[in-house]
Each structure stands twice: as structure tokens, then as C-alpha cells.
Symmetry: C2
Subunit: 143 residues, 2 copies
């Protein structure tokens, strides 16, 4: 879906929203575009601060509403790697995350899908499995 310059055309995004049963308003398109083009696991505030330059009238309420809708329709997932900061990820495939305690950046980590393949643990039915790491990222380790 993403080309070499990490840009996605609006038409593709629009079709994606419709396919998922979401009315493709301009705000929703831009929020989806931001999620797709930046795999930085943004907070609501991150998205708001980026989009206020493009849509000066956008409100945080709309961002909250839209992200909630995206999570319900499985276009995004929430990441709660740290207390008091909910982040959003447009990648809904199973994968792990790594958060650097120095720079705060959150990286995607590919994990052997076998490690994710729990049907049950201790007799409980497993529907989701989340894995995250904390430490020093490779950019910070040499500083």
C-alpha cells in the first residue's frame, strides 16, 4: 500500500476505509494517512499537533472519535507500553514493540509467529498476545 517515498495516494486510503465499512471523511483520511506514513506509534497529541497544520480546525475530539472507530473496525491497535500514554499503531499484524528508555522511541519488532501462537494458557482461552521490551535502543547505546 505504501510506495517508495512512504506516501500513499488518497484514492487508495479512501478505498481502504470503505472496504472496512467507514465513511471516508477528510479528517478520517488524514488521520489514517498519518498512521500509515508514520510508523512512530503516535499518541493522540502527536497526531493532533501534526494535523493542526493541515486542518487548522481539527479538534482532539475528532481524533479520539476516529481512533476509537479505527480500533473497533480493526484498522489500528492501541499500545499501552507505558502508563499514562496510549499510543496507536496502524499495523494490526501481530508484532512486538521495543521502547527506548533514553529517547522514548518505540520500534516494531518482528517476532517468530510461533511465539505468538498461544491458543490457551493455564486453561484460559487466548485471543490476543502482546509482547513488549524496554531497554536502550541501538542509536542511544553508543552515546
Amino acid at each position: 500500500m505504501i510506495n517508495a517515498e512512504n506516501r500513499i495516494d488518497m484514492k487508495t486510503l479512501q478505498e481502504y476505509l470503505i472496504k472496512k465499512g467507514i465513511n471516508p471523511s477528510f479528517q478520517r483520511l488524514k488521520i489514517l494517512e498519518y498512521l500509515m506514513e508514520n510508523n512512530t506509534h503516535p499518541t493522540v497529541d502527536n497526531i493532533y499537533n501534526a494535523l493542526i497544520n493541515i486542518i487548522p480546525t481539527i479538534s482532539k475530539t475528532t481524533i479520539y472519535n476516529t481512533l476509537k472507530l479505527f480500533v473497533e473496525k480493526n484498522l489500528a491497535q492501541t499500545i499501552t507500553i507505558d502508563e499514562n500514554e496510549v499510543r496507536y499503531d496502524g499495523n494490526v499484524e501481530p508484532h512486538a514493540h521495543f521502547k527506548c528508555i533514553k529517547c522514548g522511541k518505540v520500534y516494531d519488532i518482528k517476532i517468530d509467529s510461533a511465539n505468538f501462537d498461544y491458543n490457551e494458557v493455564d486453561g484460559h482461552k487466548v485471543l490476543e498476545c502482546h509482547i513488549y521490551f524496554k531497554g536502550i535502543c541501538k542509536n542511544c547505546i553508543n552515546m
Copy 2:
């Protein structure tokens, strides 16, 4: 540390706090006792509502302060399995958690320590590894 009735005597708790470099005030002892006797991964509110019956003057500020101190001194760890609810766990050994999406209960899951033994992922230095599952617990699955 815990006997058959899941009760711990105050003397033992007091020695534990002192060993960890914490002045054993009555409030701190009771918060530690609650954590140790209830492995229910309580929120600040859970602890407050339980202790207000024992110490009618206790404040949430004290609970926040004390838990922060316990985490610093490695007597407890925070669990952020769901956005907007920080839970505390008196078990600081590496282990996974399972949260039931029906009843909301959080269970401890023993995990082969080999699965926790990452030194590095993708070149990043790993200091902590957290794993949690969501699904339907064995008590809710037959209801």
C-alpha cells in the same frame, strides 16, 4: 513468606521493608500486606477502598507515594495491561499476565524463563520483557 491461610505476620513484613531500605510505617506495612495477601493486581483505587476500612484517615496520596516507593525499591511492579488503569503486582519475578475480557480479572501466568531471556532484539539492548494475554478465562468460558 505467606502461610497456609494466606496471612503474613507484621513482624515479617516489617523486616522485609527494613531489608529493602524502607522505613516501616503503619500505612506502608498495610499497603504491603494488601499487595502480598491479594495477588489480584489491584489498582490504587482497589487498595484505597480496602484500606479505608482499616485506616479511616488514609489518603490516596499516601497510596500513590507508597506504591511509587515500592516500585523504586523493587518491592512491586506496575502492570499496564489496559490503557488508563495502572495495576500493581507484589510479585517482582518475571512472569506473564492474562486478563479476562469478560470478568476483568488478571491472572499470573508462569512462563518458561527461556522465553523471557532476550539480551537484545534488532540490535537494541533489552532490559525488560513484558508479556500479556487477553481472552476469556476458564471460569467465564463455560458461562
